[in-house]
Symmetry: C2
Subunit: 123 residues, 2 copies
DNA sequence: CAGGATCCAAAAGGATACTG
DNA sequence: CAGTATCCTTTTGGATCCTG
């Protein structure tokens, strides 16, 4: 199974919080976002998990991190890479599929993931 | 987070073995397949896990189970529902994305998931 | 043939506190 | 601000054996 592309990919993006983090990063204008900013957007996530996931995603080249050392304390800015942006369309497809076959969530139906508020409004 | 469509969907299809099982069920002609047949196709999976996943997928309406009680011992036949078949295209998109941005797997590139052998050839 | 039952190991994730 | 460190609970999954 180790060679299965699907299997390996799920090991990367099939983890808890990962898709939510990607959606939050992408949301709106795809601007850079800071650590605590993200933490505030994703209700319920602990700094440990956010840190872990961001590191994984960075290693996979799905997001990037920029550090501004001139500021004190230093600040980190996260944003999506090209491959990350390309992946958003898959997340949107998954959402469409789920809304068609699995759930009936009017709030989700009214908006694209780009502006989706359902990733952050409830715990 | 409990209301997030993406989050809920990942709880269904983001689990170990699930995507591989769907691919195996779909592979070829989308014929019905029996329990031990699937077990043989998916190297390394234990009956417990296969049973667990099949039950989950059936509850979600992604696959269906047909039991032939006239035969002894009774036999079970699994096949995909419409929503399951619709989901295959997402798996294929994930695979394409992964092959573009993440991995270089020539074996996968040569074939569609429908005939993908990489889900079963190695452990 | 199609699982269920049991036991166990490992991993994942949450809570909380702390630091440069 | 941006994380680490520590501890602990829960979940997950693997191994093995058993049964109608």
């Amino acid at each position: 199974m180790k060679d299965c592309t699907i299997y390996k990919t799920m090991d990367i993006i099939g983890k808890r919080w990962t898709l939510c983090i990607l959606l939050e990063l992408y949301k709106g204008d795809n601007n850079e976002k800071q650590f605590n900013e993200l933490k505030g957007m994703i209700k319920g996530i602990t700094p440990k998990m956010l840190s872990t996931r961001l590191k994984e995603l960075e290693e996979q080249g799905i997001i990037r991190k920029r550090v501004d050392s001139t500021a004190l304390p230093a600040r980190s800015f996260y944003s999506m890479t090209e491959s990350g942006i390309d992946f958003i369309r898959i997340i949107q497809d998954i959402k469409k599929w789920a809304l068609t076959w699995q759930f009936d969530n009017p709030k989700c139906k009214m908006s694209e993931c780009k502006y989706c508020t359902n990733t952050v409004t409830s715990k």
